[in-house]
C-alpha cells in the first residue's frame, strides 16, 4: 500500500518533471529563435521553474533549475555552444540564477503546502458528524460546516453572516455566565448544553463545545463551536433514569421481600419491605444469617434449599417455608431463589420471598371447608352423583351404600341415556322418578333431582340427588289400595241401597221358573196330552233362567272388586245398566225413572263399573231426595247430551230429580267426604263419585233443577277417534 502511494507520487513527480523539461525546451527554442540573450531567457526559465514548483514538489523544480543553469551556460552565455570557456562573470550570473531559482522554488513549495493543509483541515471539518460553527466576536457566523447544515437545515451560504442567536433561536455565546466565564478565561475551552431550533422549527438538544481563539496579543478574535445532537441520548438518559427510579421503587416498596445472600447465607442486602415484614430494619438485618429468619424446625430445610441453589447457579428454585419474625410470630412464605455469579467472581443467592400466610390460611380454610362439605355430602341421606357428559365424576357415601358399589366402581360409569335425554330438553333443574339397580341386581325407586351447571372452566356438570322413595311408593300403593277398597265399599253400599229390592227382582224369574216347572210336572203326570203347553213352559223356563242370571251378573259386576279398566264405552249403556239396577228399588219407592240418552253419543274412555257406581249413586240420591214428596211428583230423569267445553267434545249425563232441592249451604259441602244430609250413609258417595269422574278427566257438579229439585251432572271428554282401547 505504502509502496503504491510512493510509486504514484514518483510517477506524478516524473510526469510534472517531464512537463517542466518540455516547457524548458520550448522556452529555450523560442529564446534562440528570437535571439534573446541570457538575462531575459533566465527570467523565462525562472517563470517555468516557479510554475513547476507550484504543481510539483521542491525536488523536480530544483532539478529543473540545475538544468536551466546548464542550458543557459551552454546556449546563452558567450561563447556560445562552448562549455569549456567560462568566465567569472558567467559563473556569478549562473550561480545567482540558481540561487534565485532555489529560493523561489522553496517559497512556492512551502506556500503550496500551507494552502493544501488549510484546505485539508477545512475538508476534515466538513467530514465530521458534528456541527461546527465559527463566530467572530460580533457573534456573526463565519464558518458553517456540513454537519451544521445537516443538523440545522440551513446551508452554509444561508448561515454565513447571520447572528447565531437569531438563526438558532438560542443564547449563543452568552459570555456573561460566570461559571463558563472563569473556565473560558483560564483555558479558552468550555462546554454547555442548549436547546436549538432547526430550520424546520424542530427543537433539538445539543451539547456544545466552545473554543476561543485569540490573537498574538491574547485578544479574543473568534469562537469555534462544536454542536452535537443529544436529543436521543437525552431521551435515553431520561428513560434510564426513570427505569432506575422505578426499579428502585420496586425493590424498596414492592410488597415482596428481596434478599441477597452470600455463600453461607449471610444477608448481604434486603429491601426495606422485607426487613419491615420481619420486624427488622435493613441495617439490623444485613449481616445476619438468613437462618435467623427461619424457625428452628425449618432451618435445615432452608439450608438444603440454599445449597441446592448454590449447586445449580443460574437455575431457579422455589419452595414454601415458614419464616419467623423478630417478635417470634410466624409467616408462610413462598420463596424463589437463584444463585448468581457476581462481577467479583463470587456467588450470591438472590431470594424473592412472598408472604403467603393469607393464602395458606385460605387454603387451610378451604381444606377445612371441603372436609366439612365432604362430611355433609357423605352423611347426607340422599345419594349424590356428580356427572359430566361422559359419566359419573364423583359420588357420596350414601350413593355407594345404597347401590352396593364402591366409589371407584361408580366413578366413570356412563350416565344413563334417559338422564341425558331429559337434560337435553333444557329444563333445569329436573325432577323425575326412576328405578335404580343395585350391584346385586335388585332395584329400588328413587326420586332424582338434577341440576346442570357450568364450572369456572365452562365445563358442564350435572349434580343429581337421588332419594330412595321405596317407603313413599309403598305408602302410595297402600293409599291406592285403600282408595280402591273405599271406592268398592261405597259402591257396595250404594248397591245395597238398591238391591234391597234385588231379591224381589230375582224372585220374579225364579218364581216363573218354579211355576213353569211345576206345571210341566203336572202336565207330564197327566199323560202328555198338551205337548204345546209343555213346550211353551220349557221355553219360558229357559228365558227366565237367562233373565235371572242377567240380574245376578249385573249386580255381581258392580259388587266385585276389579282393577279399573280404560275402555271405550257408551254412556247410554251405563245409563241402561243403572236404570235396570235401580228399577226394582224405584218401583218399591214409587219413583218413575225415565231415561233420555241419544244412541249416537260419542263413546268415552273409562271404567264401566266405576261409571255405573257414580250414576247409581246419583240415582239413589235422587230417589232419597224424593222420599218425602207425593207419589205423583216422584219423577227421575236421566238425560244424556253432547256438549263442547273448551273446544273439546264432551258427553254430559244429567240426573234430574223433583225432590227437596239443595240448600245453598249444602251446595258447597256436598262433595266433601263424610258430609251427608241423610240419617244413614257415610257421606262418601259423592266424594268418591267426584274423584272417579275427575280421574276420568271429567267433572261432576250439582245445580238446582228448573222448577223443583236438584240436578247432579257429570261430563266426560269424548274419546278421540284414533285412540285405541
Amino acid at each position: 500500500m505504502i509502496g503504491d502511494v510512493t510509486r504514484a507520487a514518483i510517477r506524478r513527480a516524473a510526469s510534472t518533471f517531464a512537463l517542466g523539461l518540455a516547457a524548458l525546451a520550448a522556452v529555450s527554442l523560442v529564446s534562440l529563435w528570437i535571439g534573446l540573450d541570457s538575462a531575459p531567457t533566465a527570467f523565462l526559465y525562472l517563470i517555468v521553474i516557479t510554475l513547476l514548483s507550484l504543481v510539483s514538489g521542491f525536488l523536480p523544480a530544483f532539478l529543473l533549475s540545475v538544468l536551466a543553469v546548464a542550458t543557459l551556460h551552454l546556449l546563452f552565455v558567450s561563447p556560445t555552444r562552448s562549455s569549456e570557456i567560462l568566465g567569472v562573470l558567467d559563473v556569478v550570473g549562473l550561480s545567482a540564477f540558481l540561487a534565485v531559482a532555489a529560493v523561489v522554488t522553496q517559497l512556492v513549495s512551502r506556500a503550496t503546502r500551507g494552502v493544501r493543509q488549510a484546505e485539508l483541515r477545512a475538508h476534515l471539518l466538513d467530514l465530521t458528524h458534528d456541527a461546527v460553527i465559527g463566530f467572530d466576536m460580533d457573534r456573526r457566523i463565519t464558518y458553517w460546516n456540513r454537519g451544521a447544515e445537516r443538523l440545522y437545515g440551513w446551508t452554509a451560504a444561508e448561515a454565513m453572516g447571520r447572528f447565531g442567536s437569531d438563526l438558532l433561536q438560542a443564547g449563543f455565546l452568552d459570555l456573561s455566565d460566570d461559571v463558563t466565564g472563569s473556565a473560558r478565561e483560564r483555558t479558552g475551552f468550555w462546554q454547555a448544553e442548549d436547546l436549538h431550533t432547526t430550520r424546520e422549527g424542530r427543537r433539538v438538544d445539543v451539547a456544545l463545545r466552545y473554543a476561543l481563539e485569540r490573537d498574538e496579543s491574547g485578544r479574543p478574535v473568534a469562537v469555534l463551536v462544536t454542536a452535537n445532537d443529544i436529543t436521543e441520548r437525552k431521551q435515553a438518559e431520561d428513560a434510564l433514569r426513570k427505569s432506575e427510579e422505578r426499579w428502585r421503587a420496586v425493590f424498596e416498596h414492592n410488597p415482596i421481600m428481596y434478599f441477597m445472600l452470600d455463600r453461607v447465607g449471610t444477608v448481604i442486602s434486603v429491601n426495606p419491605f422485607g426487613a419491615e415484614q420481619l420486624c427488622y430494619t435493613v441495617e439490623k438485618l444485613v449481616g445476619r444469617s438468613v437462618l435467623d429468619l427461619f424457625p428452628e424446625a425449618d432451618r435445615e430445610t432452608a439450608l438444603d434449599y440454599l445449597a441446592d441453589c448454590l449447586a445449580h447457579p443460574g437455575e431457579t428454585r422455589s419452595w414454601e417455608l415458614r419464616k419467623i419474625r423478630r417478635n417470634g410470630t410466624l409467616l408462610w412464605v413462598r420463596e424463589t431463589g437463584r444463585a448468581v455469579r457476581t462481577a467479583a467472581d463470587d456467588v450470591v443467592v438472590l431470594v424473592v420471598s412472598e408472604d403467603i400466610s393469607q393464602r395458606k390460611h385460605t387454603e387451610d380454610e378451604l381444606r377445612a371447608s371441603e372436609a366439612r362439605f365432604r362430611i355433609l355430602v357423605d352423611h347426607a341421606s340422599d345419594a349424590f352423583f356428580l356427572q359430566d357428559e361422559r359419566g359419573i365424576v364423583d359420588v357420596n357415601r350414601q350413593a355407594c351404600e345404597s347401590l352396593g358399589y364402591t366409589r371407584d366402581e361408580l366413578i366413570g360409569m356412563p350416565a344413563t341415556d334417559q338422564f341425558r335425554q331429559r337434560l337435553s330438553t333444557g329444563e333445569n333443574p329436573i325432577t323425575y322418578e326412576i328405578p335404580l339397580r343395585r350391584k346385586d341386581g335388585s332395584e329400588f325407586p328413587v326420586e332424582v333431582r338434577a341440576r346442570m351447571f357450568q364450572a369456572e372452566d365452562e365445563q358442564k356438570f350435572v349434580i343429581a340427588l337421588a332419594r330412595d322413595i321405596t317407603d313413599r311408593k309403598q305408602a302410595e300403593r297402600a293409599l291406592q289400595e285403600a282408595q280402591a277398597v273405599l271406592t268398592h265399599a261405597t259402591r257396595v253400599t250404594t248397591l245395597g241401597e238398591v238391591t234391597a229390592s234385588f231379591a224381589h227382582e230375582l224372585n220374579q224369574p225364579l218364581a216363573a221358573i218354579a211355576n213353569n216347572a211345576n206345571a210341566c210336572r203336572a202336565l207330564l203326570a197327566d199323560g202328555c196330552k198338551e205337548l204345546d203347553e209343555l213346550r211353551e213352559a220349557l221355553a219360558e223356563i229357559v228365558a227366565d233362567t237367562e233373565r235371572a242370571s242377567a240380574i245376578i251378573e249385573r249386580v255381581r259386576a258392580l259388587a266385585k272388586r276389579s282393577t279399573p279398566e280404560h275402555a271405550k264405552l257408551r254412556l247410554g249403556d251405563v245409563v241402561n245398566d243403572v236404570a235396570a239396577l235401580a228399577a226394582a228399588e224405584a218401583a218399591a219407592r214409587h219413583v218413575a225413572i225415565r231415561t233420555d240418552v241419544p244412541s249416537d253419543l260419542p263413546v268415552v274412555l273409562g271404567d264401566r263399573v266405576q261409571l255405573q257406581q257414580v250414576l247409581l249413586n246419583l240415582v239413589v240420591n235422587a230417589m232419597d231426595a224424593m222420599a218425602s214428596v207425593g207419589d205423583e211428583a216422584r219423577r227421575l230423569e236421566i238425560r244424556g247430551r253432547l256438549d263442547v267445553e273448551d273446544g273439546r267434545t264432551v258427553v254430559t249425563i244429567r240426573v234430574e230429580d223433583r225432590g227437596m232441592g239443595l240448600q245453598p249451604e249444602a251446595m258447597n259441602r256436598l262433595f266433601e267426604p263424610f258430609y251427608t244430609t241423610k240419617t244413614q250413609g257415610m257421606g262418601l258417595g259423592l266424594a268418591i263419585s267426584r274423584s272417579i269422574i275427575e280421574a276420568h278427566g271429567g267433572r261432576l257438579w250439582a245445580e238446582p233443577n228448573q222448577e223443583k229439585g236438584a240436578v247432579f251432572a257429570f261430563r266426560l271428554p269424548a274419546a278421540q277417534a284414533e285412540e285405541t282401547t
Binding site: A512, N515, N518
Partner: protein
C-alpha cells in the same frame, strides 16, 4: 166336587210370572183368569158375575194399585173373594195387615206348587162353604120374611128357650094361641126341630127378645 167349576184369578204385573202361574194353576185343573193390574181385575169383577167358587192369587207388589190396595177395594165393593197373596219379600207387618183384611194365605215367591195347590184348594173350599152358607142364609131370610110380626116375636122367644106357657105370659096371650103360632113358625121356617130353628135364628143373627133385630148383611 170338580175343581173345574172353580175359578182362580191371577193378578201379577210380571208377564212371565203371570203366564207361568196361569199355566201352573191350569195344570192343576182349575179354571184361570189372569190380569196384569189390580185395576183390570176390579173392572172385571164389577162387570162380570162369577158362578161357582173362586179365589184370587195376588202379587202384593204391583205398580199403581198395589195388592193390599186391591184387597181393600174389593172389600169396599163387597166382592168377598178369598185372596192368596204372593210376595217376593214377605214382611211381617205387610202379611199381618193382609191377614187382618181377610187374606186366606200368604205365600213367598217362588212358591212351592204343593203349597199353592193346597192354598187354592183351601180357598176354593172355603169359598164354596161360604157360598153354601150365603145361599142358606138367603133362604132362611126369605122364609123369615114371610113370618108375621107376631110369629117373629114368638120365634124369638122360642129360640130363647122359653116354654109356650112362659111365652104366653110374656106376650100376654093364651098358651093355645102361642102353640098355634109356634106350629106356623116351624112350618114356615121349615124347621124340623127346635134346634134347627135355633140354628136358623143364629144365621139370621137374631138377638134375644127385647133387642133390635139387626139388618143382616147381604152379599
Amino acid at each position: 166336587m170338580s175343581e173345574a167349576e172353580a175359578t182362580v184369578f191371577v193378578v201379577d204385573d210380571d208377564p212371565s210370572v203371570r203366564r207361568s202361574t196361569e199355566r201352573l194353576v191350569r195344570s192343576m185343573g182349575f179354571g184361570v183368569r189372569a190380569f196384569a193390574t189390580g185395576q183390570e181385575f176390579l173392572y172385571f169383577i164389577a162387570a162380570e158375575r162369577v158362578d161357582g167358587p173362586a179365589c184370587l192369587v195376588l202379587d202384593i207388589q204391583l205398580p199403581g194399585l198395589s195388592g193390599l190396595d186391591l184387597q181393600r177395594e174389593l172389600a169396599r165393593i163387597g166382592a168377598l173373594i178369598p185372596i192368596i197373596f204372593l210376595t217376593g219379600q214377605g214382611s211381617i207387618p205387610m202379611s199381618v195387615r193382609a191377614m187382618k183384611e181377610g187374606a186366606v194365605e200368604f205365600l213367598t215367591k217362588p212358591v212351592r206348587s204343593r203349597d199353592l195347590l193346597a192354598a187354592m184348594r183351601a180357598a176354593i173350599a172355603g169359598d164354596r162353604v161360604l157360598q153354601e152358607e150365603r145361599r142358606e142364609v138367603a133362604s132362611v131370610r126369605e122364609r123369615y120374611a114371610r113370618l108375621t110380626p107376631r110369629e117373629r116375636e114368638v120365634m124369638a122367644h122360642i129360640v130363647a128357650g122359653l116354654l109356650n106357657k112362659q111365652i104366653a105370659g110374656e106376650l100376654d096371650a093364651s098358651e093355645r094361641t102361642i102353640k098355634f103360632h109356634r106350629a106356623h113358625v116351624m112350618k114356615k121356617m121349615q124347621a124340623e126341630s127346635l134346634a134347627d130353628l135355633v140354628r136358623m135364628a143364629a144365621r139370621l143373627g137374631l138377638e134375644p127378645p127385647g133387642a133390635t133385630a139387626p139388618v143382616p148383611e147381604d152379599r
